[in-house]
């Protein structure tokens, strides 16, 4: 019952193959599954929603309506899955196993945090500076679905957006800088501080205000990789 002759973008073709595994959902004979709200959603529906969310975020300018609807649906699915403690091993789409599994394995709080941070990332659409990712320049932003060996699910989803900004227009970042977002970033050890989001929320208010020297240091970090060779510390 898939639409005929629908032109799919290249990235979607990989999804299409992987989702063919879940022929169950495509068979109109299984309409009953969608008719009565299932007590627990199939994890393939969850995977599908996660893929949609990921694909939506990969757009340079996500369709906000599509994004919000997918996120809300994902939350509903997640809420219905919560009581089911042990999720059965799913025929996960082979293309994005690590990301989907990461999210499945995480606690609910972490998933909410991931999604919340994804949405927060959208505030950067307005032209506010992107929170600097000190390790974002370690390689080209992964635009493919699976990413190149993503080690952290959330970062992978955030990756393209931040990479895009850093690659293309550093000058634009300085238009209006909201320093409150950098407070934690500045002091976090390089290996950890990669997840901006609600965890940083309380930290933002508590961190001491940056002084001029710290701002200068921050500028250097953003502007050039040579900043990484300097030992991190307040001022110079």
């Amino acid at each position: 019952m898939l639409s005929k002759g629908l032109k799919r973008k290249r990235e979607e073709e990989e999804e299409k193959e992987s989702l063919a595994v879940d022929a169950l959902w495509l068979d109109p004979g299984h309409a009953a599954v969608a008719q009565a709200p299932p007590a627990v959603a199939s994890s393939s529906l969850f995977d599908l929603s996660v893929l949609k969310l990921h694909h939506s975020l990969q757009q340079s300018e996500p369709d906000l309506r599509h994004l919000v609807l997918v996120v809300n649906t994902l939350r509903r699915i997640q809420a219905s899955m919560a009581p089911a403690a042990a999720l059965p091993p799913v025929p996960s789409p082979p293309v994005a196993p690590s990301m989907a599994n990461n999210l499945l394995a995480s606690s609910d709080a972490a998933l909410s945090a991931s999604m919340a941070s994804l949405l927060e990332d959208l505030s950067h659409i307005e032209g506010l500076s992107q929170a600097p990712q000190p390790l974002a320049d370690e390689g080209p932003p992964g635009r493919s679905i699976g990413g190149a060996a993503p080690s952290l699910g959330a970062l992978d989803l955030l990756g393209p957006a931040s990479g895009c900004l850093l690659d293309d227009g550093l000058e634009g970042l300085f238009e209006d800088i909201d320093t409150s977002m950098y407070d934690n970033e500045l002091w976090a050890p390089a290996s950890e501080g990669l997840k901006p989001g609600p965890e940083d929320g309380p930290g933002k208010e508590e961190a001491p205000e940056l002084d001029e020297a710290e701002l200068d240091y921050l500028m250097d970090v953003l502007v050039g990789t040579q900043a990484l060779e300097r030992p991190p510390g307040p001022g110079r």
Binding site: A31, L45, E61, L64, L69, G127, D167, G169
Partner: protein
């Protein structure tokens, strides 16, 4: 109803042979002007094509009131936002005509970010007999000029000139989904996913924000604006719809920022139809006031609903557009069809409502007789001047000869954009890159 000529001739050969559609030609909006004399279409390539209705003539009775191309122009070009490294699509999202105030016609056209005011004028005379220039415009040798003459206006072939009079830019961070001209004919509003701005038609460097639903923390974003429209008679009232299926009627006299609605129209969820996709299918894709101003028409994924402005609790009428899709929602979610945004339309007397569906089908509901009909807009099933045959979708059980089964519906052929002539039974249907204009020749007048 008979069919008028399909005037987009460029891609006919492509369609017949390969089912290949030039993306730039995909029609993205259709709008009649206030008299119905002109019909404007916008497409994905940023072009606007205006059709004009030919006056009825006794010489050719068969071509009475047909629409021919009047003007074509490039309204929007693709742009690049250097700051955000984003390409801005040139696709025309909406066109709205301004009420005609002099010999010229004006319309507003918008893409995702910029609204433009276009003025369309006719020139059918030109001055001849200049003293200093000859017919080709070259300066005359003054020694040959012995007497003065007054230039006279001589008729010429009709020339339609289009010029951009205003460009309303930089008003929106998010994608513009609707524009609406106020009944005061001085202001108009534009809505994007999170904000609505009020503009004065003569002022381009300033706009007033009248609705802002952006949360302080984007993490808390759960709802976006999907459509908006000014009340046809009360210049202080407007409505906007949301992705959660609610409508908010706002009064601009109450406050400068209309975040607090005057009325909230929302139907409680039907518990027997609950599913994971309940919210998605409740998302309102279009809202239109009736011509009378007393009702509103909304379109969500499976239904069209008529609301009475005096009753907020629930719609007064609900019509099923394609309820047979209710059991297919999961597949439609998978292929993203569940996110398609269909428009809806009233006829001139507010007695019939129309909306599009899949397989190039469109539906009409008569509010008085409660009868409905499904028709198809396609070259194969309708020859010019033929009468459209009602179609039927069968969901199993007894199947009649010409029925289409649900599983053989073509979901790539969607009728998203439709328009109804303000006074007569003439409708314009956009089917991908083809425009169909149907006329009810038997019952030309409104009932």
């Amino acid at each position: 109803m008979g069919e008028d000529t399909d005037t987009r001739k460029i891609n006919h050969s492509f369609l017949r042979d390969h089912s290949y559609v030039t993306e730039a030609d995909i029609i993205s909006t259709v709008e009649f002007n206030h008299t119905g004399e002109l019909l404007a279409t916008g497409d994905k390539g940023g072009r606007v094509v205006i059709f004009q209705r030919e006056p009825e003539s006794k010489n050719a009775p068969h071509s009475q009131g047909e629409y021919d191309v009047y003007s074509t122009f490039q309204s929007h070009e693709p742009e690049f936002d250097y700051l955000k490294s984003l390409e801005i699509e040139e696709k025309i999202n909406k066109i709205k005509w301004l009420p005609q105030q002099n010999a010229a016609h004006s319309l507003l056209s918008t893409n995702d970010k910029t609204i433009k005011l276009w003025k369309i004028t006719e020139r059918d005379k030109r001055p001849e007999g200049y003293n200093l220039k000859d017919e080709e415009g070259k300066l005359k040798d003054l020694s040959t000029v012995t007497s003065l003459q007054v230039p006279v206006l001589k008729p010429m072939d009709l020339m339609v000139e289009v010029s951009p009079r205003r460009i309303f830019a930089n008003g929106h961070t998010y994608h513009i989904n609707s524009i609406s001209v106020n009944s005061d004919c001085e202001t108009y509003m534009s809505a994007d996913d999170l904000r609505i701005n009020l503009w004065h038609l003569a002022i381009t460097d300033r706009s007033f924000n009248i609705v802002d639903i952006k949360p302080a923390n984007m993490e808390d974003l759960t709802e976006v604006i999907t459509a908006s429209e000014f009340h046809p008679h009360h210049c202080n009232l407007f409505v906007y719809s949301s992705s959660k299926g609610s409508l908010r009627l706002c009064d601009m006299r109450a406050a400068a920022l209309c975040d607090k609605h005057s009325k909230l129209f929302e139907e409680p969820e039907d518990p027997s139809n609950r599913s994971f996709f309940s919210e998605i299918i409740s998302s309102v894709s279009d809202v239109k006031f009736s011509h009378s101003g007393r009702y509103m028409l909304t379109r969500d994924y499976l239904t069209v609903k008529v609301w009475d402005l005096n009753m907020e609790a629930r719609p007064i009428e609900t019509y099923q557009v394609h309820d047979y899709l209710r059991s297919k929602l999961c597949s439609l979610y998978e292929n993203d069809c569940i996110f398609d945004k269909f428009e809806c339309a009233w006829n001139g007397s507010d007695s019939v409502i129309m909306t599009g569906a899949y397989n190039n089908f469109f539906r009409m509901f008569d509010r008085n007789t409660k009868r409905d009909v499904t028709l198809e807009a396609s070259r194969e099933s309708s020859k010019p001047r033929a009468v459209l045959k009602p179609r039927r979708v069968c969901v199993g059980g007894k199947r009649r000869r010409d029925d289409i089964s649900v599983d053989s519906l073509d979901f790539t052929k969607k009728i998203l954009h439709t328009a109804w002539h303000p006074a007569e039974n003439i409708i314009a249907i956009a089917a991908t890159n083809n425009l169909y204009i149907f006329q009810d020749k038997v019952n030309s007048e409104m009932h």
